[in-house]
């Protein structure tokens, strides 16, 4: 079986899949140490809980090792791993109390009947008491991201935060590229509505 890299820039040393499948302890440990960082970051962004994120990484690795033989090598290994990690995190997320998603009707764009945009323009300047420091702003933005409908949130996280390409995102989520583009645009537009006071 061919070696295959997980680095998105192609600059990382390729993973020796044969050694992993053969159960070479050293290769397995190196692989786990190398990949668990980004996997934990993805799980943390979806689950917003460090302990749950670590459990998620552990379960994702179990799936990865269990399915390595089925990895066909026609996708990048990292894209294939993303699919397993994201699916695991979404499954864990659904088992928990649901996030407070904003009703989709509140996130629709507004146009007049003649096709002109309804836009309020400049948001009012916050008063000194209302001004947020960067930590508070970050928390407010994360809360807004968490209020997006799940399909919007996950596409936004993969495209804008993880910086996967449209094609990679489509592969991870088993969507068409066009569907990824449409969903990303809706997600960004919805986030803009939720962040109105901060922009």
């Amino acid at each position: 079986m061919n070696d295959t890299g997980t680095g998105r820039d192609g600059g990382e040393k390729p993973v020796d899949l044969s050694a992993l499948i053969a159960g070479d302890g050293r290769a397995v440990e190196q692989f786990v140490r190398r990949e668990s960082g980004w996997m934990a970051a993805v799980c943390q962004r979806i689950l917003r809980d460090e302990s749950l994120a670590h459990d998620c990484v552990q379960n994702a690795f179990v799936s990865i090792f269990r399915n390595l033989l089925a990895f066909r090598g026609d996708a990048r290994l990292k894209t294939w791993m993303y699919r397993i990690v994201v699916n695991q995190a979404l499954m864990d997320q659904r088992k928990r109390k649901r996030l407070r998603e904003e009703p989709i009707d509140n996130l629709e764009l507004e146009f007049y009947s003649d096709g002109c945009r309804v836009e309020l323009g400049q948001s009012p300047e916050p008063s000194p008491e209302e001004r947020l420091d960067s930590k508070q702003t970050g928390e407010r933005v994360q809360t807004a991201i968490d209020r997006l409908p799940e399909n919007y949130r996950i596409v936004l996280l993969l495209r804008d935060i993880e910086e996967l390409t449209t094609a990679e995102t489509a592969e991870v989520l088993e969507m068409t590229e066009n569907n990824v583009k449409v969903t990303l645009h809706r997600a960004r537009a919805a986030l803009k509505i939720l962040l109105e006071a901060l922009t």
């Binding site: 786990v32 990484v57 933005v141 922009t199």
Partner: protein, 102 residues
């Protein structure tokens, strides 16, 4: 004239203007935003998009906020991707794998 009436009149004027050749409506503008931001529009479509942008204060404000919210999301979620993973997580993964093998 009330603000609502003024907006409504301006909207009607823009609505008529954007029906002229080489003009697009705000709804059509919306469809091209991501391609414009990715620098992915063919030259002719880019000129048409930018002409609308120059004429429509609402779409200028919208695009500014749209870009700002993407930047806010990136900075709120910015953390090193290769975060230091605790040793006990690595050990737990390896132990789980060994458990799965048996």
């Amino acid at each position: 004239m009330t603000e609502t009436a003024r907006r409504s009149m301006m909207s009607r004027v823009r609505g008529m203007m954007f029906k002229l050749p080489y003009m697009i409506s705000c709804v059509e503008f919306e469809d091209f935003i991501d391609s414009y931001l990715d620098d992915d529009l063919p030259p002719r479509q880019r000129r048409i998009f930018e002409m609308h942008l120059a004429l429509c204060a609402e779409c200028r404000a919208y695009l500014r906020k749209y870009k700002a919210s993407i930047e806010l999301a990136k900075s709120a979620e910015a953390e090193p991707v290769d975060v230091k993973v605790p040793e006990d997580l690595v050990r737990a993964v390896l132990a789980a794998r060994e458990g799965g093998d048996t």
